[in-house]
């Protein structure tokens, strides 16, 4: 497997990459900060990764994506797996007051991710070994239902989930795995300002879960598993009641 990780310096991506390193994987790390990519590269090589490359880019710049993918292909030819693990946690209040902020969040968390998925889907579908190819994308439980506390982020992630569902349907014939990863609360720098409760999971636990789901060909996975149950209930609440709640 030749795995490209977009947003490699995020906590969850690093935890997943470490699991792959233990299996002597070949990886290409994409992120903004070269120094951090370098630190991560050393960590993964030490842990057993066979080869690790890095490439720095700002993934929110969508019109650079085609050129970037060509360059990634020249660094790691015929890469056949990707994990999209970058995102920003929107400032809900700010986004409500200033739609240009909301638009920026939607661009980073949905449009740019969808752009990568779309281009990679085309590449993977056309390959002879398409059945060995994997597209794994981190969305969120926040995308399962719109809540007043977090709906800009939720919309982006929900749209991405829907997009992936369509792509999964399209690529089913070619055998490409399209995995939607829905973490709940995870203790990472993204949630540093949120009061942590008992539902918070470690990045390590989520990383393990992603690795397992990717390797076992899953379509959708809630991490940790109990979020499936929580969201089942959340999604079942009639709108008449839900619209009055403050979750």
């Amino acid at each position: 497997m030749k795995l490209v990780i977009f947003g490699a310096t995020s906590a969850i991506a690093m935890a997943t990459a470490r699991r792959y390193a233990e299996e002597k994987a070949v990886m290409l790390l994409v992120g903004r900060d070269e120094d951090k990519l370098g630190d991560l590269r050393n960590d993964l090589l030490t842990r057993g990764a066979r080869e690790v490359y890095s490439y720095s880019a700002d993934l929110s710049v969508v019109d650079q994506h085609e050129k970037m993918l060509e360059q990634l292909d020249s660094i790691l030819p015929d890469f056949n797996a990707v994990l999209i693990a970058y995102g920003t946690l929107s400032d809900q209040e700010l986004c409500e007051q200033d739609f240009s902020e909301a638009a920026k969040e939607l661009n980073t968390n949905f449009i740019s991710a969808a752009s990568l998925v779309a281009r990679i889907a085309n590449r993977f579908e056309a390959r002879n070994d398409s059945a060995q190819c994997k597209i794994a994308v981190i969305t969120s439980v926040a995308g399962d239902r719109g809540r007043k506390s977090n709906y800009i982020y939720g919309t982006a992630k929900g749209a991405l989930t829907l997009f992936l569902q369509g792509v999964r349907n399209r690529l089913s014939a070619s055998g490409v795995q399209v995995l939607t990863i829905k973490p709940g609360f995870v203790a990472t720098p993204m949630t540093a300002d949120i009061e942590q409760g008992p539902l918070f999971a470690s990045a390590d636990v989520v990383g393990k879960g992603i690795h397992k789901a990717m390797e076992s060909g899953k379509d959708v996975v809630y991490l940790p598993f109990f979020w499936w149950g929580i969201m089942f209930i959340i999604k079942s609440i009639p709108e008449k009641i839900f619209k009055k709640l403050s979750i």
């Binding site: 090589l45 842990r47 942590q196």
Partner: protein, 439 residues
């Protein structure tokens, strides 16, 4: 984690501090307006040497990346926030083990250096600092220096056992020891007196890499000094690491009421534990976690001591004063009625410790736990401190919450030299306490 959860293991004293948790060395910021800083590893120090009440602590838990490993020499380079547990999980399957390990693996490498920790193999391997080939130290003025025995040698010696006061250790290079697998061949030997303890200790030092004794300090009169000696060597037996995820289910989720640990309950435990072993010597093979880290199996075991917290009193009595002072300590504890659950005894060897403020020196070290019962406990600790002081011994800063400045300065005469290596932007509750406000 909320700021208030960054405390010390004994949970006395409690501190109020700002917490920063950088995820990358690049993001490390040591200058905080109107505040000193102190690195905080895993918070396994008992007293206040890992606290900076009123100031800022910089948690190192995310600075845990490995940098390189040489499978031929066993030299590992990593960021200083990596824990001994992470290193064990990485190195043991590759046939390498920590050269020195304390009684818990939930300790960061930076913390192991800052306290110059010791283990059951002190008599054969010395302290942790002896196996640190080099490290990088970042100072609050932005200077980054590489420290090794032959490069910035004095800063190297000041930082080992330097309690995090000389700067922020960023990257570390250590030499591991070669092992065949994760098992230890263990001999458990019963003994009945303090004299027997010293006999077995002397006899076993050349034959066993790891030696430590547990003593029943509530047994008085005839039974004074009865206990069990644990002697170990790395086993040639090979094996896989056990996934210990399920073990952490055994946890103490709430604070037990203070009376849960009193003299009667401790006595019952002691008697059971000692009498559980029927024959004089037993030989078993143990998985390394059971031998080295029995308490780690119970997460948050410090909560057994209740909300008031507890004290650990670890003393060193120099060889020349040996048994007399040790007997005094045990007698004083027994007479006080204050229960000590875990009493560990070990003789240190004479391998010199590299740090200016290193605790281990030739002699016998004993370690008592006391629940915090207020004034009665303080009185006892002061009495014990007096005995140690008179014997020319020392107390271990990593465990200490109440030694006086006079005692500290007597135990660590190098403190005067050490002072000039302290980073002016760094401070700790411990240092302010024992240096009488000087920085």
């Amino acid at each position: 984690m909320s700021n208030s959860s960054y405390q010390s293991w004994g949970r006395y004293p409690l501190a109020t501090q700002q917490v920063r948790t950088p995820s990358w060395l690049k993001d490390l910021q040591l200058q905080v307006e109107n505040s000193t800083v102190l690195p905080y590893g895993q918070g396994r120090s008992y007293g206040d040497c890992c606290l900076n009440d009123g100031g800022t602590i910089i948690a190192t838990s995310e600075l845990d990346r490995l940098i390189s490993f040489c499978p031929d020499t066993g030299v590992l380079r990593c960021e200083a926030g990596a824990t001994l547990q992470q290193i064990n999980h990485f190195s043991i399957p590759r046939g390498w083990f920590l050269p020195v390990t304390p009684g818990t693996q939930f300790v960061s490498i930076g913390g192991a250096i800052a306290n110059d920790v010791h283990g059951k193999n002190h008599h054969s391997a010395g302290t942790f600092g002896r196996h640190v080939l080099s490290f990088e130290l970042l100072r609050s003025d932005g200077e980054c220096m590489r420290c090794a025995p032959d490069e910035n040698g004095e800063m190297y010696c000041a930082t080992i056992a330097g309690l995090g006061l000389t700067g922020f250790i960023t990257r570390v290079e250590i030499k591991l020891q070669k092992v065949a697998g994760p098992f230890i061949n263990v001999e458990l030997v019963k003994f009945n007196s303090l004299d027997e303890f010293f006999e077995i200790s002397a006899d076993s030092a050349g034959k066993f890499e790891y030696t430590v004794a547990w003593m029943d300090c509530l047994a008085t009169g005839e039974q004074l000094g009865r206990g069990i000696f644990m002697l170990g060597n790395h086993s040639e037996r090979k094996g896989e690491l056990v996934e210990s995820g399920w073990k952490n289910l055994l946890t103490v989720p709430i604070d037990l009421p203070g009376f849960a640990l009193n003299k009667l309950s401790v006595k019952a435990f002691n008697t059971l534990y000692y009498n559980k072993q029927r024959s004089r010597t037993v030989q078993i093979v143990q998985y390394y976690e059971s031998f080295f880290y029995p308490l780690d199996a119970v997460q948050d075991w410090n909560r057994i001591y209740g909300k008031r917290g507890f004290f650990q009193f670890q003393a060193l009595i120099p060889t020349v004063k040996g048994r007399g002072a040790v007997r005094d300590l045990i007698d004083t504890v027994a007479r006080s009625g204050r229960a000590s659950f875990l009493v560990v005894f070990k003789e240190f060897g004479d391998i010199e410790s590299p740090g200016m403020l290193s605790f281990p020196r030739p002699g016998v070290t004993l370690c008592f736990d006391f629940p915090n019962e207020g004034q009665k406990t303080f009185t006892l600790l002061k009495q014990l401190e007096g005995i140690v002081s008179e014997s020319g011994g020392a107390l271990y800063p990593s465990k200490d919450a109440c030694m006086s400045p006079d005692s500290f300065q007597q135990f660590y005469p190098n403190w005067v030299d050490f002072k000039e290596y302290i980073d002016p932007g760094f401070s700790s509750s411990f240092w302010r306490r024992v240096s009488q406000g000087e920085e």
